[in-house]
């Protein structure tokens, strides 16, 4: 009876400890060393047991526990990786010109290239509209019935998708922006302003 109790306890502890190690490896921003894990589970033998058990647990999963030079990390399994064509993509911030242009199109659509230039006060470099078009966030609208019949630009459905909007009317208007402080950048945004009232 007491033996059983002890066994139960042991199992409970083992599972819990394994869960902790699992969570730590998962949340670590780089492969974690055996040494670092020893700080949590000082018992060497037990730690090794836990790691082996974790390795087994993931052996036929989409992710595996990888051992690299005595460090541990979860990585997509080779089988799946092959299938999914994994590539490291480093997210890139959109250039200032492109973000401004996109915002202007969103708020003023349909709008021609020269109207955008008017609002921004600088001429639009060639690649800016191209990039936004390539990202499928903008698309050509109708042509203006003015001399030269300039093309207008409007935002697309994937623009709405990307920004989580149901319709363009959900964009906060100028008054909303004023009320939320967004129009007073110098006071509110992009400095470590004190947000206390």
């Amino acid at each position: 009876m007491s033996q059983l109790k002890e066994n139960d306890d042991y199992n409970f502890n083992f599972n819990q400890k394994q869960n902790i190690v699992e969570a730590i490896i998962f949340s670590s921003s780089e492969p974690i060393s055996f040494k670092a894990l020893e700080k949590i589970i000082p018992d060497n033998v037990l730690l090794l047991e836990i790691i082996n058990s974790l390795e087994k647990k993931y052996i036929s999963s989409g992710i595996n526990l990888f051992k690299i030079n005595n460090t541990f990390a979860f990585r997509t399994s080779f089988e799946v990786a092959e299938f999914l064509n994994i590539e490291k993509i480093t997210p890139k911030p959109l250039s200032r010109a492109a973000s401004e242009t996109l915002a202007i199109i969103a708020y003023h659509q349909p709008i021609t290239r020269s109207e955008i230039e008017n609002i921004r006060g600088v001429s639009l470099s060639k690649g800016t509209l191209d990039l936004l078009f390539e990202l499928t966030w903008i698309k050509p609208g109708h042509r203006r019935l003015t001399p030269g019949r300039p093309l207008t630009w409007i935002t697309s459905n994937s623009f709405l998708d990307h920004f989580g909007l149901k319709s363009i009317s959900e964009l906060p208007g100028i008054d909303d922006l004023k009320n939320s402080g967004l129009l007073e950048k110098d006071n509110i945004l992009f400095n470590d302003a004190d947000y206390e009232e």
Binding site: N85, I86, I89, P91, L94, A103, Y107, L177, L182, L189
Partner: protein, 254 residues
């Protein structure tokens, strides 16, 4: 301290008096604090003592010469009105209905704000991502569904837009660019011209003659003079000036 204690002494002993209005998020918040401080039951709210406390508090704060926000005064006026109505015995059922409605509304507002304050504490006391639970620390990226590698969210987009407008409305001093004759330009021009010249010649003869703008003209004189000094330094030119206010002559160094 017994319940029958005079409200006034109660209030004066209260900690709230050490605070000023800045400690409160508006009149309802203040009322709620007063109610809590004096253990007034919100479910069977008696307006009169609460109104008295509020007015007394306001009075004290005013005496301390503190600017009182309009919303506190509006609430104060409203409570004073309510108090006077409550103190007058009335048989008019319309008025008592109205009073009931008003106190119901106040009770509702107090309870609702209290509920929201509790909710915000519950929310912020619950598990939070990055504090109590974690996301994948070292994400891998797949080349699927991720055609877009640019990260910009709605907030970024809107603040960028906001900035365009604040740029427009704010007075930014821009210095109009003026056409000036640069030293580099003058140096290139002068070194070309002197190659074909012989003997002493006035520096002014070398100035460009198509400049109409006065400022540009003066900048051309200055830059050509600096350029001539540079050429002297390089050992290509000799300068001569016979006295302080006389013309400057230059000649190729042979």
């Amino acid at each position: 301290m017994s319940k029958e204690n005079d409200y006034n002494s109660n209030i004066i002993n209260s900690n709230i008096f050490n605070l000023n209005l800045n400690g409160f998020e508006g009149p309802i918040d203040l009322l709620l604090n007063l109610a809590r401080d004096h253990k007034i039951d919100l479910t069977k709210l008696s307006i009169l003592p609460l109104a008295e406390q509020y007015l007394l508090f306001l009075d004290t704060v005013l005496k301390k010469d503190i600017d009182i926000a309009a919303e506190y005064l509006v609430m104060g006026a409203w409570l004073a009105f309510l108090k006077s109505k409550l103190l007058l015995p009335t048989d008019n059922s319309d008025i008592s209905d109205e009073l009931n409605d008003m106190s119901d509304l106040l009770e509702f507002q107090l309870k609702r704000l209290e509920a929201m304050q509790t909710a915000s504490r519950l929310l912020l006391d619950s598990f939070q991502l990055g504090v109590h639970f974690f996301k994948r620390g070292d994400p891998e990226n797949f080349n699927i569904n991720q055609k877009i590698e640019y990260n910009i969210n709605l907030f970024d987009l809107i603040s960028v837009y906001g900035q365009i407008f604040s740029k427009e409305s704010s007075q930014i001093l821009t210095i109009a660019s003026s056409k000036l004759y640069s030293v580099e330009e003058a140096l290139e021009r002068l070194s070309n011209l002197i190659k074909t010249s012989s003997g002493w010649r006035n520096l002014f003869d070398y100035l460009p003659d198509n400049i109409k703008d006065m400022l540009e003209q003066r900048s051309a004189i200055a830059s050509h003079f600096v350029a001539s000094l540079e050429l002297v330094k390089e050992g290509k030119l000799i300068l001569r000036q016979d006295g302080d206010d006389n013309q400057i002559y230059l000649s190729l160094k042979s």
